[in-house]
Point group: C2
Chain length 411, copies 2
C-alpha cells in the first residue's frame, strides 16, 4: 500500500509493508519508499513534432517534415536492386474521405517486430541491448559512396513519429517484407490514445493487424474511403511500406494545395543529388540511370473535380541546386580527411558579378531586393558560394540549422 | 499467444485465441490481431536534451539549460510572500564527490504526487484529464503584471527533464511542501534505467523516498558525499525543491569553471527584469525591494583548495541588458493590444552614432570588429534597437530562436 494515498480498491499483497498512520502528513519514524509509475504521457508521440519543426527561419517547416518521411523511405529502399520508388500522395478529394497524406515506398518493408519497434519512441537504430530487434539490427556502417548518397539516415528513432504527428493526428503504418505472405498494419492515433486514457487502458499497448494483401474489409470508416484504393494497389508489390497520415492539421491543407510548386521545388533541392546522381542536374551532360540516380520521388495531389497534379522531382528544373549548378562559371571540388576515417567533401562554385548584375541565382520564391546601383555590396559580395547544401548530406536528419548551413558532405 | 513469436515461458490465458501454424509465414485464412507493446525507450528522458539544445547560434547552450531550471524555480516561488531565493551550486571539489550541479529554491515544494508527475514526460501543466494531479492542477492564468514578470513559465512538461539530462546523467529531486512533515526524494538516472532494462524490470517504475528533513543516511556512495551537507541545510527550510544533477557531462565542466563570468553574465541578462524589476538596472534610480524585484538568484562554485566563487546575479553590472539601458540616449515604451486580451509590451531604445563611434554597446564577450572609417554601415546602422530580449518574457521557455529574437513582452 502506498503511504499518503487513499486505498480505494487496493488489496494488500504479500511482502508489502502496511503502515498505519494517524494522519497522512504525520511525522515518519523511519524513511519509507513509495512505489511510483511515471510512464511518459502519450503527448510524447502525439506532440513530438512540436519542438523540432517549430522554427525554420521563417519558412513553412512542412517540407522538412515530408523530407523526414522521404529519408525513411530512402533508408528502406537502399538495398533495392532496381528502381527505388517513393511516392507522396495527397488525398484532398472529400468524396474519398477526409484529407490524408500518404508516403509509400517499394523498400524492404518491415516485419511485425520491426513495425512494433518503429512505434517505440527514441529506439535508435544503434540500440541493440536488451531484447530489441531493431529494423537495422546488426547495423553495419555502409561503405562510403560519392557525395554520401548512402541513404544511411534516420538515426535517432524520433524523426518518423515527429514528422507524422507534425503533419496530422493519426498514422497508419502498412508494411510487407518480401518473405512474408501477409501485410502488417498498425494504427497510432491521438484519438486512440485519448480513448485508452479515458478507459484507463494500457496507453502503449496496441494491435498489429496481419492480413492478406489487398484486404481492406477492416476499413469501415467513410473518412478513410480512399484507403480501399490504396490497399488494392498492394497486389503488384513484393515488398513495401506505406505511411498514411490522417487528421491532417488544417493549416497545412491550404499550404499543400496552393504552394504545390514551391514545396515540391524545395524537396527537389533537398534530394537533388539523390535523384540526379553525384554530378547533379547538369544540363550539359547526358543522363544515364546508374546506381546513384535510380530513385524516383513522385508527388501527386488529388482534388475533387480536378485532374491530379503529378510531378516527379527529377523533372523539376528550377530548384536552387539546379540553378546553382547551371549558372556557375567554374567550380572547385574538394575533399578533406578529418579525424581518422572522416571525410568532408564539397564544391565551391564561382558566380561572378558580370557586367551589370550578379550571376548568383535568386530564389524565385524568395526574390531578393536588387540594388540597381550596386550600393551596399562589399568587396566580397560578387563572389558567392553555391553550396550543395542539404541535398544528399547525411546532415539531412538534423534539425533545421544543420539543413541550412551544411556546406559539404561528411561520410 | 502472439503469432509469429516463439512462446518461451508464455502460458495460454483465458479468452486468448491460439493459432496453430504450419510455418510462421504461412498464408493466413483470416486477418489476425497481434498484441504489441511500444513503451517509449528510456532515451526519451535521458536523451531528451539532445535536440533542444543542439544548436544555439554558435553559443554554448549550457546557460539555456540552467535557465530552464531557473524558470522552474521562478514558477515554484511565484507565490512566495518574502524573498524568492534561487541558488545554483556547482560542486567541483573532488574530495566531496564527483562533479554535481544543484539548483535549489525556497518555493512551494512538491507533494509526492506532484513529484511523481514531474517525472512523467510531456505531462503539460494544462493536462488535467484522467487521473493526473498536476503540480498546477486547477491552473488559473495569473493576472497581467508589468513586463510579464508573472513567472508563468514552463508549459510543456519537458523543459526540466531536458535541461537536467543535457547537464548530466542523473537527477535527484528533493522536495518538501510547507504542509508536509517529511521530505520527498526521487532519483532518475541513466544508470538506473539501464539496470532496469537489463533485469527486465518495469522501466518507468521507481520509488519516492519519504524521509525526515536532514536525514541523509541513505547516501552511502562516496561520489555523492557533498549531499550530506546539502541535505543538512534542509533544517531551516519550511518548503523547498532541490534538483541535484550528477554524472555531469565532462565537456561542461571546463566551461562552467573557466567561463564562470561569461555564463553568469548571460543569466543576468536573461533574468534582468526578474532580478531588477520592471525598470531594469537603471543606474540613475534608487533601488527598493518590491514585489517585482524580490528574487535572489545566487550562483556559487566550490573547487578544492580555492575560496568559493559566489555571485548574486543582481550584482552583475556588465550584462547586455544593463549596458543597453544605461547607454541609450532615449527610449520609447509601447504597448499594443492584440487578439482580444493579448498585450505586447516593449521598449525601443535610441543608441545614436555619436561623433566618431557607435553608442550601441558591444558584447564584451563577443566584441564586434570595428570599422574605424565607418565603411560598411548603411544609413540605418547608427540607429539600433536595444530590445529587452528574453529577460522577463514569457517566450523564455521556447527554444532558442525565440530567446534571441523576442522584441517585446506578450502577456
Amino acid at each position: 500500500m502506498n503511504i499518503g494515498m487513499t486505498a480505494e480498491n487496493e488489496t494488500v499483497k504479500d511482502g508489502v509493508t502496511l503502515y498505519l498512520l494517524q494522519s497522512v502528513d504525520q511525522l515518519l519514524l523511519t524513511a519509507t519508499k513509495e512505489r511510483i509509475e511515471f510512464l511518459p504521457h502519450y503527448d510524447t508521440l502525439v506532440k513530438s513534432g512540436m519542438y523540432e519543426y517549430y522554427a525554420s527561419e521563417g519558412q513553412n517547416p512542412l517540407p522538412f517534415a515530408l523530407a523526414e518521411l522521404i529519408d525513411n523511405s530512402l533508408s528502406a529502399t537502399s538495398r533495392n536492386t532496381g528502381i527505388r520508388k517513393i511516392q507522396i500522395k495527397l488525398h484532398f478529394d472529400e468524396t474519398q474521405g477526409k484529407p490524408a497524406v500518404a508516403v509509400i515506398d517499394n523498400g524492404r518493408g518491415m516485419t511485425s517486430k520491426q513495425l512494433n519497434n518503429w512505434a517505440v519512441y527514441r529506439l535508435s537504430k544503434f540500440t541493440r541491448q536488451g531484447d530489441f530487434e531493431s529494423d537495422h539490427s546488426g547495423y553495419v556502417r555502409p561503405v562510403p559512396v560519392p557525395r554520401s548518397l548512402n541513404s544511411d539516415i534516420s538515426y535517432f528513432g524520433v524523426g518518423g513519429k515527429q514528422a507524422v504527428f507534425f503533419v496530422g493526428q493519426s498514422a497508419r503504418m502498412i508494411s510487407k517484407p518480401a518473405d512474408s505472405q501477409d501485410v502488417h498494419e498498425l494504427l497510432l492515433s491521438k484519438e486512440d490514445f485519448e480513448k485508452k486514457e479515458k478507459n484507463k487502458e494500457s496507453i502503449y499497448s496496441g494491435f498489429i493487424r496481419n492480413r492478406k494483401p489487398c484486404d481492406s474489409v477492416h476499413i469501415t470508416n467513410d473518412d478513410e474511403r480512399f484507403l480501399h484504393c490504396l490497399i488494392s494497389e498492394e497486389k503488384e508489390k513484393v515488398s513495401f511500406t506505406a505511411v498514411v497520415i490522417t487528421g491532417v492539421q488544417s493549416e497545412h491543407i491550404p499550404y499543400l494545395k496552393n504552394y504545390f510548386h514551391l514545396w515540391t521545388r524545395q524537396l527537389a533541392h533537398i534530394y537533388h543529388y539523390y535523384i540526379h546522381g553525384p554530378k547533379g542536374n547538369e544540363k550539359r551532360t547526358s543522363k544515364e540511370v546508374g546506381p546513384f540516380n535510380n530513385i524516383d520521388i513522385e508527388i501527386s495531389m488529388f482534388e475533387k473535380g480536378k485532374a491530379p497534379k503529378i510531378v516527379n522531382l527529377r523533372e523539376i528544373q528550377d530548384d536552387m541546386q539546379t540553378l546553382y549548378i547551371n549558372t556557375a562559371t567554374d567550380s572547385f571540388e574538394f575533399k578533406a580527411h578529418v579525424e581518422g576515417d572522416g571525410v568532408v567533401e564539397g564544391i565551391i562554385r564561382y558566380h561572378p558579378f558580370l557586367y551589370d548584375r550578379e550571376t548568383y541565382p535568386d530564389d524565385p520564391c524568395f526574390p531578393s531586393i536588387h540594388h540597381k546601383d550596386g550600393s551596399g555590396h562589399g568587396a566580397g559580395a560578387s563572389r558567392r558560394l553555391g553550396c550543395p547544401g542539404n541535398g544528399g548530406s547525411q546532415a539531412s536528419h538534423l534539425p533545421w540549422p544543420a539543413r541550412s548551413s551544411a556546406q559539404g558532405y561528411k561520410v
